[in-house]
Symmetry: C2
C-alpha cells in the first residue's frame, strides 16, 4: 500500500501468520507488543502468532475482548487502554489485532488514540476482514445510536493475511465476506468480477489457491482506491457500494437480523435495481450482480423491516454531507458513479419489490 | 501553518474573534457548527463568536463542558459525542473550541474521533493556549493514571487568537502562560528571548501591542517546529523543554499544586541546572533563564514533593522510547539538544538544590 510515510505491506499467503514476528522486526518495531483477540480466535490462532513474535525477541501481552460487534464499545476500549498502560506499551510498541473486522476496528481505534497513536498490525481471520476491513486504516467503535460513530483513520504498519485460517470459519460468515469481494468486482474491475463468476464452485469449496488469488485481488483493488483517496473525500466512496441500503437495513433491525455481508448483499441488489429504475443501468447489469450473489449463497430478497423504516435510516447516514446522502450506483460492471438526491420513492419501490419477491 | 493538505491560517489580532464566521465561511465549511466552552468563558466571549457565526449563515449548537482539566475525561467526551449527534453534525460540520488548553484538547479529541474526524477551530482565550496548546494539532483527554494518554494528532482548520480577551484572565493564569513564551525563546530563538527580557514590564502590564508581537512571535516559532515535524518524531521534541520535570512535578502532586505553566517554569529551571551540572551549559545561560522566569513572577524553587518521587514519575514519562526517557537541554539560549540516559543522580541533586533554595 503506497501512502507516502504511511505506506505498508499487505502479505497474502498460506501459513503467513508464522512470519509475523520476523516481518515486524524487519520494520524496526519496539520490543513490546500486545495482541488483541477474543477467546475463540486466540484459542485457534493465538499461539502461532505469539510464538512467532517471541522468537523474534518481542514481549507479548495478551488482551482479551468480547466476540464480534460487542467488542466495539467505549467500555471495552477503556479496558484496552488500561491494559496497554499496564503492559508498559510506549510509542514504539505495537498493538496487533487478531480476529474479524470488529477486533480490528476496536484494536485499531485503541492504537490510534493510545499516546496519540502507536503502531498497529492487522491479522484478519475472517474473509470479510481479509478482503476489506483490515485494509485502509478505517478504525472505530460504536455509539449506542450509530455504528462506527467514534473512530479515526489510522493505517496499520503491516497486514498479514493467511487464507488457511478460513477453514475454521463458519460457512455463513465465509459467505458474508464474499459480498465485499463481489462489490469490488462490480464497481472496480470487470475482469475480477468475471473471474469470481467463473469460479463459484472453487470459492465455496474454499480451494486455497483460488482463495489466495481472490483475496489478493480484492486487497489490490481496495488498496488502489485507498491510495488514491486515503481520507474518503472522493473515489474511496466507490467502496461504499451496497452499503447505504445495507447499513440502513442493519440499523433498522438493531444489527440483529443479518451478518454485515448479508446486509451488504441486499444493499448491492437494491443499488442495482435503483440504477435500473433510474435508467442508469440495463437489465443484464442487474441480472449478473443478483445472479452472482445468489450463486454464492447470499440473500437478494428480504421479508422485513418496512421500506419506510429503511428510508428513514438512510437519512441518518454518517456519510451525509450537509444533509445530503451520497449513493453509489454502477452503470455497468466495473464502473461506478456517485449520485446525490436519489428520489426516496425509487428506494421505497425497489425495497418493496425485494420484499414481494421474498414472498 | 504549512502542512500540505492540513495547512491552516493562524490569525493574531485585537478583536479577531468578531471575524470567526467570515473566516470559516471563506474556508467553505458546512453550515452546521457547535461551540464547545465552559460556563465562564461562554458568558464572557460566547456571544461575540455566536453572533459572528450566525451572521455568516452558520447554525450554532452550544456544548457546555466543566472548567479546566476536569473537562478532559472520557465521560465528558462521551457527552460531547452525544451532543454532536443530537445537533446533527456531519463530516462537513465544524467543532469550535472557545477557552483554555483543556477545552481545546477535549474538543479537539472529540472532533478528531467523531465520524473519524471533522473540521475543528481553535479560539484560545488563555495565554497558554494562545502561544502553545492551540497550535500544532495535539489533542487529548486524560486517563486516571496518565495525563493526555488518550488522544490524537488532529490539526485545526483555523486558529483565531484575540489578545484582548487576556484582560479578563486571572493574573496567575496569565503568568503561567508566559513560561511557554520563555521556553520558545530558550530553545528556538535568542532574539525573541532578548525581546522578552527587554519588555517584562510591558508584558506584565498586558500592553496590547506588546502582547500581539509576543504572541504572534510564539505562534510563528512553534509553527515552524510543527511544520518540520508534525508527528513529533524529531525536532518537535524541542517544545518539550522544561516539560519532562514539569510533568513529573504535576504527576507527583496529582496536578493540584501548580498551574501547568508554573510546573513548566520549575521544569525549565531544573533543565537549565541539569545542563550546567553535566557541563553542557555555562552559568550565564542558567542565570538568564532563571532570571527571566523570576522577573515574570514564575516559580524557580519549590518545597515539595520529594525528589525521589519526581524521578520515579519521570520514569513513567509518555515520551519514553523502549524504556528510555528523552530529555531536552539547552547548551545556550536559542539552541537545544535531545539527550537520553541523563543520570538520575544529576536530576536528584538539582531537584534537591531547588528545594533547599526554597528554604
Amino acid at each position: 500500500m503506497n501512502l507516502g510515510p504511511r505506506s505498508y505491506p499487505i502479505l497474502v499467503g498460506t501459513g503467513a501468520l508464522r512470519s509475523v514476528g520476523e516481518r515486524l522486526a524487519a520494520l524496526g518495531a519496539g520490543r513490546r507488543t500486545a495482541l488483541v483477540s477474543d477467546r475463540s480466535v486466540m484459542a485457534l490462532h493465538g499461539s502461532v502468532v505469539i510464538e512467532s513474535l517471541r522468537a523474534s525477541g518481542f514481549s507479548v501481552a495478551e488482551i482479551r475482548v468480547p466476540e464480534g460487534e460487542t467488542a466495539k464499545t467505549l467500555a471495552v476500549a477503556e479496558r484496552c487502554w488500561d491494559d496497554c498502560l499496564a503492559a508498559g506499551l510506549d510509542r514504539t510498541s505495537t498493538l496487533l489485532a487478531l480476529g474479524g473486522g470488529a477486533v480490528g476496528d476496536l484494536a485499531g481505534f485503541v492504537a490510534a488514540t493510545y499516546m496519540r497513536g502507536i503502531p498497529f498490525v492487522q491479522l484478519p481471520t475472517t474473509l470479510l476482514a481479509q478482503v476489506d476491513a483490515s485494509i485502509g486504516g478505517k478504525v472505530a467503535i460504536d455509539h449506542p445510536r450509530a455504528k462506527n460513530l467514534i473512530g479515526a483513520f489510522h493505517q496499520p504498519r503491516l497486514v498479514v493475511v493467511d487464507p488457511s485460517v478460513l477453514s475454521t470459519l463458519p460457512d455463513a460468515e465465509f459467505r458474508s465476506g464474499l459480498s465485499e469481494v463481489v462489490k469490488h468486482g462490480i464497481v472496480l474491475d470487470t475482469a475480477y468480477f468475471a473471474d469470481i463468476e467463473a469460479h463459484v464452485r472453487e470459492i465455496l469449496a474454499k480451494d486455497l489457491p483460488t482463495l489466495e488469488r481472490v483475496i489478493a485481488g480484492s486487497c489490490r483493488l481496495k488498496g488502489r482506491v485507498v491510495e488514491a483517496d486515503e481520507r474518503e473525500g472522493g473515489p474511496r466512496a466507490a467502496l461504499n457500494y451496497g452499503h447505504t441500503v445495507g447499513h440502513a437495513l442493519e440499523a433498522a433491525t438493531s444489527f440483529s437480523k443479518w451478518l454485515h455481508g448479508e446486509a451488504v448483499s441486499l444493499g448491492i441488489a437494491a443499488a442495482a435495481l435503483i440504477a435500473q429504475r433510474l435508467g442508469m443501468a440495463d437489465a443484464e447489469t442487474v441480472t449478473r450482480q443478483v445472479g452472482l450473489l445468489k450463486a454464492l449463497g447470499l440473500p437478494v430478497t428480504f421479508s422485513g423491516p418496512a421500506p419506510d423504516a429503511v428510508v428513514q435510516a438512510i437519512a441518518r447516514d454518517k456519510k451525509a454531507r450537509d444533509g445530503k446522502v451520497p449513493f453509489v450506483l454502477a452503470p455497468r460492471i466495473g464502473e461506478f458513479r456517485l449520485v446525490f438526491d436519489i428520489p426516496p420513492d425509487a428506494v421505497l419501490s425497489v425495497l418493496g419489490k425485494m420484499q414481494e419477491a421474498a414472498g
